[in-house]
């Protein structure tokens, strides 16, 4: 019997949906077992039906419509999955929490190219919530598939596990465990920004002075960014043992003493993908 599946993009970018499609021909093996009853990005039904087995929710909560939808989804679904880092931790849109919603609105509608600056749209469109929230702040979530986006394999593995009546299993290690770079276990004495110099391709980026959040971030991505020559920014979110990715990362960086204080824009670096899930989750006046 096919499993009834729903998929939605709340305050997300659709990257998680595209990652599922990046299974490419393997998608043709997974699809026959699924009955996709609601998925506006790829299908036309406009009402969320009753009796959904598994609902994959991409994106966090940014406006009143998102909030309304997540309640409806929770009511109508046996299993709700926070699909991707935005749904699980707030994601990049969570950086909006560094500003108030009034600041966001005022800024967008007074850019240099705007002719009627200061007009704020408000007719027939859903008002913004005060700040971005992960979906777990609003409803009970059964499972999380983290990542920005999660890899196609992670998404497929989770679906297959659920089809077999099992729980999806997430990696328990940190990105450093997947990273091929050589580690000498020394803390840098000075930090660099990503464009400074040319990093040694064999050695740990953090130890070369490029702030890399791999040590505070859940594995699963295969350490793609360090392999490509740039430091990890924590897009897979915290590990099972962690309360707050940014706080854990700060603890490690603190080992470099004063040098760590020189790093620019620490709040948005340490909480790049996870501010709405942090212990202090927004700008507090």
């Amino acid at each position: 019997m096919a499993v009834k599946v729903g998929m939605i993009q709340l305050c997300g970018c659709s990257g998680c949906h595209i990652s599922l499609l990046d299974l490419h021909d393997k998608l043709l093996e997974v699809l026959p077992n699924l009955e996709i009853v609601y998925a506006p990005i790829i299908a036309d039904p406009k009402e969320i039906p009753e009796g959904i087995d598994v609902f994959l929710v991409e994106g966090g909560i940014r406006n009143e419509h998102d909030e309304h939808l997540i309640h409806e989804i929770r009511e109508k679904s046996k299993i709700v999955i926070a699909w991707g880092t935005c749904a699980a931790y707030g994601g990049i849109p969570g950086l909006g929490n560094l500003y108030t919603k009034e600041e966001l609105l005022n800024y967008v509608y007074s850019t240099d190219s705007t002719d009627n600056k200061g007009e704020i749209p408000s007719e027939e469109i859903p008002p913004l919530e005060e700040y971005v929230k992960p979906i777990s702040a609003v409803v009970k979530v059964d499972y999380v598939i983290p990542g920005c986006p999660p890899t196609p394999e992670m998404i497929a593995d989770a679906i297959v596990a659920l089809l077999n009546g099992e729980e999806p299993k997430l990696p328990t290690k940190i990105v450093c465990d997947e990273c091929p770079r050589k580690k000498e276990n020394v803390f840098p004495e000075k930090f660099k920004r990503t464009y400074e110099g040319r990093p040694d391709p064999e050695k740990c980026l953090f130890e070369q002075g490029y702030p890399c959040l791999g040590f505070a971030t859940r594995a699963g991505c295969g350490a793609r960014c360090p392999r490509a020559g740039v430091p990890c920014r924590g897009c897979f979110g915290k590990t099972d043992k962690s309360l707050d990715l940014g706080a854990n990362a700060a603890n490690v960086l603190a080992n470099s003493g004063e040098a760590a204080l020189e790093i620019p824009d620490k709040v948005a670096l340490l909480n790049r993908f996870t501010l709405p899930d942090a212990l202090i989750n927004r700008k507090v006046k």
């Binding site: 993009q9 305050c11 997300g12 970018c13 659709s14 990257g15 998680c16 595209i18 990652s19 499609l21 990046d22 490419h24 021909d25 043709l28 699809l31 506006p40 990005i41 790829i42 299908a43 036309d44 039904p45 406009k46 940014r62 406006n63 419509h65 849109p93 950086l95 909006g96 560094l98 500003y99 966001l104 609105l105 800024y107 967008v108 509608y109 190219s113 705007t114 002719d115 009627n116 007009e119 704020i120 749209p121 027939e124 469109i125 913004l128 986006p149 920004r193 990503t194 464009y195 400074e196 490509a228 020559g229 740039v230 920014r233 897009c235 620019p264 824009d265 948005a268 670096l269 790049r272």
Partner: protein, 418 residues
Amino acid sequence: MGKIVIEPLSRLEGHGKVTITLDENGRPKDVKLHITALRGFEQFVVGRPAEEVPRIVPRICGICQTAHHLASVKAVDAAWGVEIPEPAKKLRELMHIGNMIHSHALHFYFLAAPDFVLGPDADPAIRNIVGVIDKAPEVAKQAIALRKYGQKIVEAVGGKAIHPVTGIPGGQAKRLTEEERDEILKDADQMIEYAKNGVELIKQLNDQYMDKIKTLGVIDTYYLGLVKDGKHNFYDDTLRFLSPDGKEKVDFKPSEYLDYIGEHVVPYNYVKHPYYKKVGYPDGIYRVGPLAMLNVCDAMETPLAEEYRKEFFDIFGFPANQSLAYNHARLIELVAACEKAKMLLEDNDITSDDIKADVEPKAGNGVGVVYAPRGVLIHNYETDENGIVVKANMIVATTHNVPTMEKAIQQAAQEIFK
């Protein structure tokens, strides 16, 4: 009397609805397109070190994330007065082309094709990619192969297929090895064949649906595209406006965009209405994307695509003003992208190690432009002397099309409710 609300709009990325208010005779008197989401990227990149912004803004869109990454890093390079090495430019262009291939294949085969392959009156439950896979499995297989090829290119050059990371001020963080290049190049000819099959397919579908193509969403507008030496270019150089009658071309550089493009806030849409400043709002609204690109250019850059472009205008006239002709234009661009990918992969520079110039941040203002899969994309940042962003403006591809999509929907509504 009454009101029709179409929500959510489906088979697209993003959040929108259409409202149609009917008069006493059941005719549409007020038709509006509402984009119902806002995140505030322009505000929340303020305060970020400029080199971090290309790692943030791809999350504007999970399909054209690469375009944002590249327009963003171009804007930072421009703000800091950086000239990147030639091989780095080619790598970025290749990354962009890879994304264009995946996105154009996704857009046509996965999102638009169900309307044509299954028909607009098909059961909504099957009018989707699953239905296309059932009804036309060979077509679906080629679509999947094209997407896989495009994503493979982005992953090899950009580090990740979705939300690439290697564009940094000064150039690229990663070179392309010979092995990686060979692995991609081996499929280049096959992909050009698959892309050509797409154009043959749309010509057949056009014949079936020509009455609808010539009546629904047919509007006259300005057009905005990207050209280099007058020719269609996905990645660089000069912006061009074309008048609705096709007679007047106005070229300008990305850095001059504020003299040519304005945005008008409308009360029922989180997205603003851009317009051509020399004409004003609303008469100066314009279209971007494949239809516009084919209209504004003197010719395509590559030979097969150029043959198809000439044929396109024989079918649709010049300038082509039919909204439903976008699909045919998109498939011609898919051929062009596959041809261009092969050219870049066969260029020896593509595996070079000379991919990063030295960089010092400074106070500056820079504009970065690419032609994203759905249209011209503009990122503009101002930085302080520490290279921290102090001001940002982004006009994204679909935004340019919002007022003209609304106009096309209004026209279609008038036709359908006759």
